[in-house]
Symmetry: C2
Subunit: 118 residues, 2 copies
């Protein structure tokens, strides 16, 4: 594979730090799944997120949602229904994660095909 061989060390370092920031915010087994769900299906409630995320437990989902909210990627809205429901939605800032998720999905699809060939 041809590398770009970027030569400006300051730029290389700045991009490395940005990458580390992104990893810190989004790493773990679940955050991308939650974001993909909200991106695919629009605003969703707790239980629906739990089902479509395939395997997450309520405790973990609750923690992940709080972290995403703290980082301004999702909003939490309590609806005045009976019984009360809560819906989660992407913030405008979360648009920035969409290319990441799209690229990850593409990579996953291609890697599956690759593995099948062997």
């Amino acid at each position: 594979m041809a590398a770009t061989c970027e030569q400006d060390p300051a730029r290389v370092a700045e991009r490395m730090l940005a990458l580390k920031d992104a990893i810190e915010l989004l790493s773990g087994k679940w955050k991308f799944c939650i974001l993909l769900n909200l991106y695919n299906l629009g605003p969703m409630r707790f239980k629906d997120l739990q089902e479509t995320s395939l395997g997450i437990t309520p405790k973990v989902l609750s923690k992940e949602l709080q972290e995403l909210e703290d980082n301004l990627l999702i909003t939490r809205t309590v609806n005045a229904t009976k019984p009360v429901t809560v819906s989660y939605a992407l913030t405008p800032h979360a648009v920035e994660t969409q290319p990441v998720i799209e690229a990850l999905v593409e990579f996953g699809l291609k890697h599956r095909r690759k593995i099948k060939q062997l």
Copy 2:
């Protein structure tokens, strides 16, 4: 944020599984950093990777490199120098990770700016 509201459930599920595959392969604190380095700087030796990855210890670097090699994303080449050196390089398949990394870097840069505003 407007969601795409993809309606085909089979496609949604397939993409979710692909995303989970990608996360399993690439998650952790270091794999993206290693790939970014190789992408920016071209083939690199163990020690150089350790320095440019900012904070990784030899043991951890070693493990990450092996996992990346197992997943066909990098190659390990022993050079017949004195003393022996080893260089790591991206495989053609690793090109698929580049959009992911680029998007993560962009997200990291934008998020930094966002945080500064507050």
